[in-house]
């Protein structure tokens, strides 16, 4: 069997440049950055594999066009690779798709191999492997802070540090890069008049890769079934949080930087920031943990073989294209690397069916469910319950929409909640935020249901249905882009909020008020529109 490399925690040795994994990463990145845009072994080429704004089809008149990126790094915009290489490699990243996890696994493997080759060439260790940033790790979750090596402007030899990026602003817009995980939030409480969506690992409790049941909301942990899918549509649960939120918060914007935002916030610039790969290393690691916890990957050949319309391919270190399939990526044990830690973060406190039944007053059913937990049931019916009437422009501190409910469908849900004691199968209720279009990726929006007038969202999370990060918004909104300008669609589990409304007799109403609240004041010209907000019931 080939050598197994170990990807280590980036916070080893304090997460600074005394950590040899990070020092050599910096040197390897520097070496890759020294190559031209058209060189498949260059940093820039690899970033464009994920997504780019440098070819004629994607060029922009302003940022995020690559020409307008503020150094460092100094991003080249020419010479472009020959069209054959562009068509073969570039703009491949799989998002809002069940291919999200396996594609990125192969992407990281290829980049890591190139970096290792360069690192060895520079006199570094042949055992080098890409570190990971475990933002949930550390004592009491203290590693929500970006490892300091990425904030240092110079290497120990006084040369510029390739890991440092100018356009990386963080949640406070001041270059202090941390994540509002549960521990990060406690250390950096935000303005309670806004709603900073929490980065968490709650979806590790999902039990389905694709699909939904009583404990896994649509579209599943790994994402919806698609063909080759470069973006647009609905993110998988793990892609939604923590992946998308981390991207947005690391890039982000500030009052003085807007309308510019950080490179990490947009898929067309994210691959340029070296922190991207440590973030994805962690996403990949936790996929492996999810599998190790007994959760299976898809077995359909449509997933295993990958898309038939365009194969996944990376530049091999031998100069030849390396094709790969999800089947080859699905089992970490069969690959050439592992992780320093392969354990779950603290188990998320998912309510679970017994707790929910108890809350709904079905104490006997709750006790039964707790005694003999059954396989989570699959829904028998999914249907529209209500919808907003017109598009909603997102601006300012809060944007509101009335979501009218259909009385007949609502009664089905009310009945199922009232009958929970008998059936032990109350409805689940979801909010679908559809066709979110625009050009400002760098925000996280929190969606509240029936938030009382004047209530501070930060102090009233019981009304929170979920958080959505708009990573990928611009590209998904391009009318001639791969998703025909449909934008992004999000599915949020509103079940706990609906349960509370039902218990307070506040669900049998004509409409519910949905409030969409950004994490921070949006720039004046931030362009974000929601096509429709709808509510669905799932009956079991």
């Amino acid at each position: 069997m080939a050598t197994t490399y170990t990807r280590n925690n980036a916070w080893n040795k304090g997460g600074n440049l005394t950590n040899p994994d990070l020092l050599w990463y910096a040197k390897g990145v520097g070496k890759m950055m020294s190559r031209g845009l058209n060189d498949p072994a260059s940093w820039w080429f690899y970033a464009a594999i994920h997504g780019e704004y440098v070819t004629p089809a994607n060029i922009q008149p302003a940022f995020p066009g690559w020409k307008f990126i503020k150094a460092p790094p100094t991003v080249p915009t020419s010479p472009l690779p020959v069209s054959g290489n562009q068509n073969l490699y570039w703009n491949q990243c799989q998002h809002q798709s069940w291919f999200f996890l396996p594609w990125h696994r192969g992407y990281l493997m290829a980049l890591e191999a190139q970096l290792r080759k360069d690192i060895v060439g520079l006199g570094g260790p042949a055992t080098w492997a890409l570190p990971y940033w475990n933002y949930f790790g550390g004592t009491n979750g203290s590693q929500y802070q970006m490892p300091p090596a990425f904030a240092a402007k110079k290497l120990p030899d006084n040369n510029p540090n390739p890991l440092f990026v100018n356009m990386r602003y963080g949640p406070d817009g001041n270059g202090n890069i941390y994540l509002p995980t549960p521990a990060g939030e406690a250390a950096h409480p935000g303005d309670p008049n806004f709603s900073r969506g929490q980065v968490n690992a709650n979806y590790m409790s999902n039990d389905l890769y694709t699909g939904h049941d009583q404990v896994t909301k649509l579209p599943g942990f790994g994402g919806p079934e698609t063909l080759f899918h470069h973006g647009g549509g609905t993110s998988g649960n793990w892609e939604g949080n923590p992946h998308n939120l981390v991207h947005v918060y690391v890039g982000y914007y500030g009052a003085v930087t807007a309308p510019l935002y950080g490179l990490m916030s947009d898929p067309g610039t994210a691959g340029l920031d070296p922190i991207f790969y440590l973030h994805h290393s962690n996403i990949d690691r936790m996929w492996a943990v999810w599998n190790a916890n007994g959760n299976a990957n898809p077995t359909k050949s449509a997933w295993l073989t990958g898309p038939t319309t365009r194969k996944f391919v990376m530049p091999g270190t031998n100069g030849q294209p390396w094709y790969y399939t999800p089947d080859q990526m699905k089992d970490l044990a069969k690959l050439n690397y592992s992780y320093q830690e392969l354990k779950s973060p603290p188990a998320p406190k998912a309510a679970g069916l017994p707790k929910r039944l108890a809350l709904l007053g079905a104490k006997d059913a709750a006790a039964e469910a707790k005694k003999a937990p059954a396989t989570p049931a699959k829904p028998k019916v999914t249907e529209l319950l209500g919808a907003s009437a017109r598009p909603l422009k997102i601006s300012g501190r809060v944007s509101k929409a009335a979501v009218k409910l259909d009385a007949g469908v609502r009664q089905k849900t009310t009945r199922s909640l009232a009958m929970a004691a008998k059936t032990a199968a109350p409805d689940n209720v979801y909010i679908k935020v559809e066709n979110v279009r625009g050009t400002f990726d760098a925000t996280v929006l929190s969606v509240y249901l029936d938030l009382p007038e004047g209530a501070k969202p930060g102090e009233n999370r019981q009304y929170l249905a979920g958080n959505i990060a708009l990573f990928g918004l611009r590209r998904a909104s391009m009318k001639d882009g791969q998703h025909a300008g449909e934008g992004l669609t999000f599915i949020l589990d509103a079940t706990p909020v609906i349960d509370q409304l039902h218990l307070k007799n506040e669900f049998d109403v004509e409409s519910l008020q949905v409030s969409v609240i950004p994490a921070d004041p949006l720039p004046e010209n931030a362009d974000i529109t929601v096509g429709r907000i709808s509510i669905y019931r799932e009956g079991f």
Binding site: A2, P56, A57, G106, M109, A110, A113, L218, P219, P224, E225, T226, F228, H230, G233, T234, A302, T308, T309, R310, K311, G316, T317, N318, Q320, W322, Y324, Q328, L335, N336, T382, E383, L384, G386, A387, A389, R390, P391, K404, D406, G408, V409, Y430, K432, E434, N435, K479, D480, G481, Q482, H483, A484, G485, E486, T489, I491, G531, R532, S534, Y536
Partner: protein, 252 residues
């Protein structure tokens, strides 16, 4: 709520079934085709029209649309079904089809009249088909065609209640019809003008239109388009299973 492979397959099979039925009717009843296939040599315009009353031409054109266009409507109908209340799905689908159909029927008037004139003036001639065929080829490669194809993939959010919902799906049908017509007018016109080989040409055009809808939206520019995705997909499916290339070797 969102794409579900099983629901999609059920809808696709139903729609393909309708299309197949229409094809069978056309093949079993050759006169059930709007192409005149008539010997119009020496026939007066009045006699020609009497032999092909408008109602009959319209019915035949509609049958051809069902056969050729139905497979392209799976995606928009799916969008309507997941966006609508369960009790409104059939109604919304019918309104969408009505909007879509109206556009194509209006286009059909123009195409069929033009065809009648060509057949009447140049009976048995391949010249009209050649001119339109060449136009279709140029149009197929043009950036304008790509823009129209891109818009065919676009699905607007739909109102859910009452008259607004009816209006939205009808408008959706009109929009899809407009972009579809703009994309495919030349290809649909071409088979109509062939003195012979009409059904073969119809089938070829139907396959082209289906295959080009498999392509994702792309940058509008001059290029040959239509079979890229279908050809790649077929090629990969037909290839013999490749031995596991053991990713480690390629990357070390």
């Amino acid at each position: 709520m969102i794409y579900n492979a099983e629901d999609w397959a059920r809808l696709r099979n139903a729609v393909f079934g309708v299309s197949l039925l229409a094809w069978v009717v056309i093949l079993l009843e050759p006169r059930a085709s709007p192409c005149c296939a008539v010997n119009a040599a020496g026939v007066s315009w009045t006699v020609l029209l009497a032999a092909h009353p408008p109602a009959s031409l319209a019915g035949n054109w509609a049958l051809m649309l069902i056969a050729m266009m139905a497979p392209m409507l799976v995606a928009p109908i799916y969008h309507i079904r997941i966006s609508s209340f369960a009790r409104r799905r059939a109604r919304s689908t019918m309104l969408f089809v009505a909007g879509y159909g109206i556009v194509w029927m209006v286009a059909g008037i123009v195409i069929v009249v033009a065809e009648l004139i060509a057949v009447w003036r140049m009976p048995g001639s391949y010249l009209p088909a050649t001119i339109v065929g060449l136009t279709a080829v140029v149009w197929q490669a043009s950036p304008f065609k790509q823009r129209c194809l891109n818009r065919c993939h676009s699905h607007r959010p739909l109102a859910a209640f009452g008259f607004a919902a009816d209006l939205d799906v009808f408008r959706f049908g009109l929009e899809q019809g407009l972009w579809c017509t703009a994309s495919c007018w030349a290809a649909m016109f071409f088979p109509m003008l062939l003195p012979e080989g009409h059904f073969t040409a119809m089938a070829a055009v139907a396959i082209l239109m289906f295959c080009e809808r498999l392509d994702p939206p792309r940058e509008p520019r001059w290029r040959w388009r239509g079979f890229g995705t279908a050809a790649r997909s077929l090629s990969l499916r037909l290839r013999a299973p490749q031995p596991d290339p053991a990713p480690l070797t390629a990357l070390s």
